[in-house]
């Protein structure tokens, strides 16, 4: 079996001069070219820019010698702003939006020597778990093309799993990095809330969103986090906590690691093959000297309903900005468009209220949003608007925020006794395209193991822990204490060193 191409491998080859950044870039672009018609991982390819940038690095190799990601091709989820490069969030409402600035994570990657080759497909505004809610059509799982890669960062997961780039960035509001990583057989890390700047990430739910890496190895995730992490003056929620040396944390030592298993949560609804792989992972941990501790997260089972109340409320507010005025699509005044303004009462002088014209403006807003947003985004805006509306705020939004506190307290209590909590990342392996998309509630239920880390703001990582009989990847999730990515990465790396799952590649 050939060894997967890792970020570290590429970086070291460019650094040592064994390979030119341009050659690495050209190879990534030609693989993209060959595979993307079948996989649809990318919305936009930035071939010319990427090659120019790689050439720049090659011209001045001495200056880039110590750059941690020098020459590494990277794919960015299409909800991360890139100056001068179309950024759509896979939505019709932004299909020609060209940001005037870079997200902080993009600037940091480029300063570290990474070469952006394109923007990846996702569920519209990151709302979904399958990448089917993209205005540009679904991405396909490289392990089984009739199945989804998961979502919402599905295109990013596909780019890495198919060997197009060794690194992609995603965003994770309720599992959108970890679940597609699990379903595509790669590593995905959602950092602690505040660990990585959200500046330039198109907002979905601001108290839950985090940016993070998708990679082939835990080591590559650690390398990338070292580049991304840290306070950012442009994001007031970014944290001042010092950034650890995440790579140095990877000792491979599992002895004495205290691993929490919320066994009561895992009784129902977990696919038998997933449950078996999870059990084997636990056996491996205890066989290597880790200590398994049963933990109780009594409110974790409410995390999914709480998440869909909190996230939709925040989304309804965040997405109010898409109104056809400052950017994006505006519904035109065609035959069925807004009536002509200024046809109000004849006596209306300058600056007199024109009721009819006001109505026209409102029609422009609502028609723009009706045509610009897809069904899932509208559904969530509707739900969020409802739970924030007078009369229902206390019963839903406030109640959900209170239960969020209880979920946080459950984790606090667990982390008094353990270093990480482990669960399967997803209760099932990759599902078929079309299987859940018509039943939103069914889709939401698949997020049961990932959403609580977002509600509690905790770092969580998914890595490969097995395959089904049909060769579909299965993911293991480790959740850690706030700002303790180092421990999550150390234990995940310890597991990875003892297993070969991460070396498996889809037949392409």
């Amino acid at each position: 079996m050939s060894q997967p191409v890792t970020l570290r491998g590429v970086r070291d080859a460019v650094r040592s001069g064994a390979r030119a950044a341009v050659d690495v870039c050209r190879e990534a672009l030609s693989r993209l070219e060959a595979l993307d018609a079948g996989l649809h991982a990318f919305n936009t390819v930035t071939a010319e820019r990427a090659l120019a940038r790689a050439a720049e690095i090659d011209r001045d190799r001495a200056a880039w010698r110590d750059a941690p990601l020098v020459g590494v091709p990277v794919a960015l989820k299409d909800n991360l702003c890139t100056r001068g490069v179309r950024t759509t969030a896979s939505s019709r409402i932004l299909d020609s939006f060209v940001p005037p600035y870079d997200a902080t994570v993009v600037a940091r990657l480029e300063a570290a020597g990474a070469v952006v080759i394109g923007k990846t497909n996702c569920d519209e505004f990151a709302m979904g778990s399958s990448t089917e809610n993209s205005a540009f059509g679904p991405s396909r799982n490289p392990w089984a093309r009739d199945r989804t890669p998961g979502g919402s960062s599905g295109g990013s997961a596909v780019a890495v799993a198919a060997g197009i780039t060794p690194l992609a960035l995603g965003s994770d509001t309720g599992g959108s990095i970890r679940q597609p990583a699990a379903l595509c057989g790669i590593v995905g890390l959602k950092p602690t809330y505040g660990r990585v700047s959200r500046y330039g990430l198109l907002a979905f739910a601001s108290s839950l969103d985090q940016v993070g890496p998708l990679t082939r190895t835990v080591d590559d995730a650690a390398l990338t986090l070292s580049v991304l992490a840290g306070a950012d003056p442009a994001d007031a929620t970014s944290a001042p906590e010092p950034v650890g040396d995440y790579v140095a944390a990877l000792t491979g030592d599992l002895r004495g690691a205290r691993i929490g298993v919320p066994s009561r949560m895992l009784d129902d609804g977990v696919d038998a093959e997933v449950a078996r792989a999870f059990k084997s992972a636990l056996d491996m941990f205890s066989g290597r000297g880790a200590v398994l501790v049963d933990v109780d997260l009594p409110h974790a089972k409410y995390a999914t309903p709480v998440y869909y109340l909190v996230a939709t409320a925040e989304a309804s507010s965040n997405l109010a900005r898409y109104d056809g005025v400052r950017y994006g699509y505006r519904a035109g005044p065609g035959e069925d468009g807004p009536a002509k303004a200024g046809q109000g009462p004849a006596t209306a002088g300058p600056y007199v209220r024109d009721v009819r014209a006001e109505e026209d403006l409102r029609t422009m807003y609502s028609r723009t949003r009706e045509r610009g947003f897809g069904a899932e985004v509208k559904r969530r805006i509707m739900l969020g608007t409802y739970v924030l509306s007078a009369g229902y705020y206390d019963a839903y939004y406030l109640k959900a925020q209170q239960v969020r506190t209880l979920i946080l307290r459950d984790y606090d209590r667990a982390f008094e006794r353990v270093d990480v909590v482990v669960m399967p990342t997803s209760p099932t392996p990759a599902f078929k395209i079309g299987e859940r998309v018509t039943d939103p509630l069914q889709m939401y239920l698949g997020d049961v193991f990932t959403v609580s880390a977002n509600l509690a703001g905790l770092p969580a990582l998914s890595l490969p822990c097995g395959f089904t009989a049909d060769r579909l990847p299965i993911g293991l999730q480790l959740t850690g204490r706030q700002f303790d990515e180092a421990t999550v990465l150390r234990i995940a790396d310890g597991y990875e060193r003892e297993t070969e799952w991460w070396k498996q590649e889809p037949e392409i």
Binding site: P100, P233, D360, L406
Partner: protein
């Protein structure tokens, strides 16, 4: 209310959200929002008396910064994505709202 939404209720929410739904969507959302809220209703079973709400998990802010003028977005760049900007005047435009 969960479990059932009337078309009028869905339309009222859509108006608050500035969405002009099509008739087929009104019908679909009436059913789906009812289903989702019926499911979410399980949070009502939890005793939360005296539990403070959590709106976010930020424990420490990066702190204050000096109040200094720094370069900001160029006016032309800020207007470049607007569907109907008045570039010369440096303004976004909306359909006329006053007589």
């Amino acid at each position: 209310m969960p479990g059932q939404f009337s078309s009028a209720q869905v339309e009222a929410i859509a108006a608050l959200a500035h969405l002009e739904l099509e008739a087929s969507e009104v019908e679909l959302f009436a059913r789906q929002l009812g289903d989702i809220l019926a499911y979410a209703d399980q949070v009502q079973q939890i005793d939360t008396a005296g539990v403070p709400p959590t709106a976010h998990v930020v424990t420490r802010h990066s702190g204050d910064r000096p109040d200094e003028v720094v370069p900001s977005l160029d006016l032309h760049d800020a207007l470049a994505n607007a569907p109907d900007a008045a570039m010369g005047a440096g303004l976004f435009k909306v359909p006329r709202v006053i007589g």
